[in-house]
C-alpha cells in the first residue's frame, strides 16, 4: 500500500533555525530517506516553500477566486510530504516515527493512504 506522509509543523519556528541547524536536520532526514530509498520503498519527496509564497484558487458560483496565502490558516502548516510503500499502517507509522526522531521539537505527520498514484514526468 502506498502512503502519503504529510508533514506539519509551525513554520515560524522552522524559520528561526539557522542555516547550519537547518542543514543538520536535513542531513538527518536524508539518512532516513536513503534507508527507505535503498529498499526501493520511497517515492517522491518534497519540501514546500513558506505559506506566504502560496496562492489558493477557490471555486465559487462564478469565476474561481484567487486568494493570496494558503488554503487554511492553521497553527501548524503543511511543510512537505513523502510517499512511501508500506505493507501496513504500522510500517507507515514507523516511517513517520523515524522522521519524527530526526526532527527536533514539535510537529505532526499525517499518514494517509494513497488512492491513485501516477509518478508523472517531471524531471528535476
Amino acid at each position: 500500500m502506498l502512503y502519503a506522509v504529510l508533514c506539519y509543523n509551525v513554520e515560524d519556528v522552522i524559520g528561526t533555525w539557522s542555516k547550519a541547524e537547518d542543514e543538520a536536520v536535513m542531513a538527518k532526514l536524508r539518512t532516513v530517506q536513503e534507508k527507505w530509498s535503498a529498499q526501493g520503498r520511497l517515492g517522491p519527496v518534497a519540501r514546500l516553500l513558506p505559506t506566504t509564497a502560496a496562492t489558493t484558487l477557490r471555486k465559487g458560483r462564478d469565476e474561481p477566486l484567487v486568494i493570496d496565502g494558503p488554503f487554511a490558516e492553521t497553527k501548524e502548516q503543511l511543510l512537505g510530504f513523502y510517499m512511501v510503500d508500506c505493507s501496513s499502517l504500522d510500517e507507515a507509522l514507523g516511517f513517520a516515527r523515524e522522521l519524527a526522531e530526526a526532527n527536533p521539537g514539535t510537529g505532526s505527520y499525517e499518514v494517509r493512504p494513497v488512492g491513485i498514484f501516477r509518478p508523472g514526468s517531471v524531471a528535476t
Binding site: 509551525v10 519556528v13 524559520g15 528561526t16 506566504t52 509564497a53 484567487v66 493570496d68 521539537g105 514539535t106
Partner: protein, 412 residues
Amino acid sequence: MTDLDWIGRALASARPQVMAALLRHFRDLDIAEEACQEAGLKALAAWAKNGPPRDPVAWLIFVGRNSAIDHVRRQKRLVALPEEAAISDLDDAETAVAEQLDQAGYRDDILRLLFVCGHPELPATQQVALALRIVCGLSVAQIARAFLVSEAAMEQRITRAKGRIAAAEVTFETPGAVERAERLAAVAAMIYLVFNEGYSTAGAEAAARAPLCIEAIRLGRLLLRLFPAEPEIMGLLALMLLQHSRHAARFDAAGEVVLLEDQDRGLWDSEMIAEGLALIDKAMRHRRTGPYQVQAAIAALHARARRPEQTDWAEIDLLYATLEQMQPSPVVTLNRAVAIAKLRGPDAALALIEPLAPKLGSYFHFHGARGAFLLQLGRRDEARSAFDRAIALAHTAAEAAHIRRHLDRLQK
C-alpha cells in the same frame, strides 16, 4: 538541536505575538518586555519538564500577564489573575487567551508593536535597534555587536528610543483604514532598514551583521501573513530574499566585495531565489505596482541570469526609469547609469550621472561609479582623481579596498 535549543526557537518565533498582546494589555513597553522575559524564563523550566504546551503563544501571554500583574496592579488597580502554579487546569485559562487571539484585533496588535519600533519620529538607527530588541528579542549585547558599539551605548540608545515612543503616544484604538495603511508603510520601511543594516556592510563586520538580514526576512514574512494580499509587502519580502540569496557570493575569502558580475552564481541560494520569484509573480497579479515591487523585479532579473552576460539590461533600465518616476532620487539614477553603461556604453552613462554631482558630491558610490566609467573611456587621470575622492568618502575598509584595486590597476 537539544530540547533547550528547541524551546529557545519556539520562544523566538512566538515573541512578536506575545509582545504585541502584552503591549496591548499593559500599554507600556517596559512592563510588556519584563512580562515577556518572565514568561520566557518560566517556559524554559516548565516546557523542559512537561513538554511544550498545546498553544505556546497563548501560554506565554497568559503567564506573562500573570507575572507582571502584581507589579502593575499598584498603578492600574487591575484584578490579579491566579498564579499559574495554583491553577489545576491551565488549559482552560489558555483557551480564553487563545480565543482572544483569534479576534480581529490581533493583527492590529502586531502592526502596532511593529509600528512603535518603526515610528517616524525615531531616527533610523534607533528604529533598527528597537525592532531587534523588542520584536526579534535579540539581547542588547547581540545588537551592540552588530552595530560595533559598546553594550552601554546600545542600552542608552534603546532607552532613548523608548522615551521618544512614550512621548509620541501611539494610540491603542483600532486604527482606521488610512491609519492602518500609514502604519503598514512605516513598518515596511523599518523592516527594510533592518535588512539594509545587515546587507550594506562588508568585511569583518558582515558576519556580525548578517543575522540582521535573516531577522528582517522573518519580519517580512510575519507582516505578509498579517496582510496576505498586499503586493508591496510581497515585493518587500521578495526584494530582501533575492538580495540575501547572494550573501555567500558577495565577499571573497579576504572579506572584500565581489561585484555582481564577478560573483560565483553557483553560490547563490536557489531556494531563496525561488521564494522571491514566486512572491513577485503573486504581487504582479494585483496590478498595483510600487517601489518595493520594482526593486524586487530588478533583483529578479539579476537572479534569473545564469551568467552575467545573460542579464536583461534593457528591462533593468526600464524598471529603474519606472522607479525614478515613483521615487525620484539621484541614487536611483546612479543605479540606472550602470544599466545604461551596459546598454549604450560608458559615455552615455557618464552623461547621465554628471548632473548629479551637486547632489551626490559626498556619496562614495557616485565617485566609484564615475571613476569606473571614466576608466572605461580611457580618461585615466580623471578616473584616478574620482577614485581618490571615493576612497576619501569610503565608510568601510572593504569599500576603500575595493576602490584601491581599481587604482592599482591604473598604476600598471
